[in-house]
Subunit: 371 residues, 2 copies
DNA sequence: CCGACTTTAGCAACGCCGTTGCGTAATAGA
DNA sequence: TCTATTACGCAACGGCGTTGCTAAAGTCGG
């Protein structure tokens, strides 16, 4: 169902998206980018200024005519904290409304840590940051990015890979109780690609974030939104077969990209590993036609330029009609913070981003009679 | 921008989606499935009945209380014609508003046919069907499903694979002029998956249609909509590498799924070919987490059960945690008509399906200041 | 210095959307 | 015949972007 509140929220989110991707802007800019009439811009902008999200920022004096008032996002009006839960570390990042990282801290986690241990570390860290920066009510919520498989819709960790105590843990609910704030839980790679999307604006419609760090995964951003799949477990890119009779993989199959890649790394041949990843990236471009590929992950970033160059060469030479079917390869704009920052931005996105329309209830869906 | 017309169209489309996937329905059904209030259902339904898309269909007498009026879709109130342009044939299909195929006809196309030849055959065929069924104004438009690469947004065929006269042909515009009706142009596989989605209703949110027919391709339906990618060229699934040093492919790479598959077919080992395709399907499920995989294409359907069984076995055994991460494998519900029928349903979908919200203009998108 | 012109911005009335409140129709059962 | 129950529409309402118009704040030419 769509009602007037959806309409309002949607148009406000459009204005926020423009505000976020520009240093400053005028009402005309908004009207052109969104298609709203000047009068509607006036009303929407009025609401956003009233809530403190947007503020006037001087005027521009044109050659003739009345000066145009300029506006800008107020980055410190809202914050979110993101957590990147890895196998041995917890990274906490404070992000403002503009998507800028204001604080980043890494704490070690014990081997085979339990949900309880993580929750203790998480609440302590969040409270410390909230107090130090006097966030108060400006803290919108906390996001958690974690290895899967997990169920984003239910907020449950199904089986954190190679962590013994993490089977069917309702982490979102537990964290909301412990923190007393809204919590978002998502796969690390999906959080990461949200960070890139939030910062790069509406031009970033179809993209993949490739992450190499204790496994190979891909966060997918398709048609302007995160793609999670029907069990919110998309992106298991490392477990796609690229060599039919290749080395056995931990997942039980043979020749998975991750297994072939890791073998090259074990052989000390980073360039060969990068070429393997590049094959996978071209596969992804062929399948999904993404325009942007972002590279991330600790194990990749230590040899960032090798990986980037091999991926770029592969795309240039192996995609047909490369003249018009281009895909840009870049390194993650936030480095090691990208997952945690993305988790934070998911919280901001759910509150200030483009809202979703609820899907229909399938109910007693029967196939129609055939003709 | 979102305005009141979007609101109205969206809610009408929701009601149509419910109507399409059920033999008959009551107002309460709509209210429950859509979240609209009974009063809103009354208004929406009134508009749809007025336009002849929906009609009353008796009453249901409950144990107590006033009988509930029932309604049903009027399948013959709107039609669309779909064309499947293959290398040697043109298939035309007449589809009604319910997604049922009312007529199907195949005509041969000369080797290396030109755009002009196709347009002649197309207009002759469309006019013949429109006259025979007295469609008149009930013919919503014509859809064309074709091998790529092509540009759906611009309606241009970039390079129809192995057709000499098809480079940068503005087929949509040409066909609209020749037919005097709205025309939609899309890749064959995307049209095919639209057919399945249109018929199976809102439960069909994440799916892939795998087509084996003069090449291997995949039509993607992600998050309840067709995924075409940034150059509308997604689905080149046959040109993903699954065997690093495999046989050379026509695309210039080595070990593409299509090359490996075709080698098995050439060897006469269909089961091996099916196993190769199954590897690719598992790759797709791992990457995209689709819940439905539909098999189609002339070359596949002649050995349908072998392909289906191998794919199902692969998904059952090779996807981790198969207990909750399930994906159903089915054969295309429309057989050889699926592409043409899907092209027709794309026309109906663009007119009576869930509308899109226009994306923002990127304009001078600059990355925000960091830190 | 002043009127003509251009551009920006807001006020007020409007049309249309779904919602709310309430009255009415249609049935079964007592 | 009355009551309980369910279905459904009329009318008023609040909120959305739109339209039409006026006011404000500048530049520029005479």
């Amino acid at each position: 169902m769509a009602d007037l509140t959806f309409l309002r929220d949607y148009n406000e989110a459009l204005v926020m998206a423009v505000a976020r991707t520009r240093p400053a802007f005028e009402r005309t800019t908004i009207a052109d980018a969104t298609g709203l009439t000047p009068q509607a811009v006036s009303k929407v902008l009025g609401r956003l200024v009233e809530h403190g999200l947007i503020a006037p920022a001087g005027v521009r004096r044109p050659a003739i005519g009345k000066p145009a008032s300029r506006y800008e996002l107020v980055p410190h009006s809202r914050y979110a904290i993101g957590a990147h839960v890895a196998r041995h570390t917890l990274r906490l990042v404070l992000t403002d409304l503009a998507g800028a990282v204001r604080h980043s801290v890494v704490t070690p986690l014990p081997a085979d840590f339990t949900p309880g241990t993580l929750l203790d570390e998480l609440t302590a860290g969040v409270d410390r940051i909230a107090a130090a920066h006097r966030l108060g009510a400006r803290l919108t919520g906390v996001g958690i990015g974690m290895i899967g498989p997990l169920d984003h819709a239910q907020g449950t960790v199904r089986d954190a890979h190679r962590l013994r105590h993490w089977h069917d843990v309702p982490l979102r609910e537990l964290a909301e109780q412990a923190l007393g704030r809204p919590v978002h839980l998502d796969k690390d790679v999906t959080a990461g690609v949200t960070a890139e999307a939030w910062r790069r604006g509406p031009a970033f419609r179809d993209a993949a974030l490739i992450m190499v760090e204790s496994g190979v995964g891909a966060g997918l951003w398709l048609g302007g939104a995160a793609h999670r799949g029907s069990h919110t477990n998309a992106g298991e890119f490392g477990h796609t077969v690229i060599e039919l009779s290749g080395p056995p993989c931990v997942c039980g199959r043979r020749g998975c990209l991750e297994a072939v890649h890791d073998r090259a790394v074990a052989d000390g041949d980073i360039r060969a590993a990068a070429r393997v990843l590049a094959v996978g990236i071209v596969n992804l471009v062929q399948t999904l036609d993404v325009a942007h590929v972002v590279l991330a992950g600790a194990n990749l970033l230590t040899h960032a330029e090798i990986y980037r160059a091999e991926a770029e060469a592969a795309i240039r030479t192996q995609v047909p009609r490369a003249d018009w079917q281009t895909a840009g390869i870049t390194l993650s704009s936030l480095g090691a913070d990208v997952i945690a920052a993305g988790a934070a931005m998911q919280v901001l996105d759910s509150r200030y981003g483009i809202p979703d329309l609820a899907p229909l209830e399938p109910a007693g869906a029967r196939p129609p009679q055939s003709g």
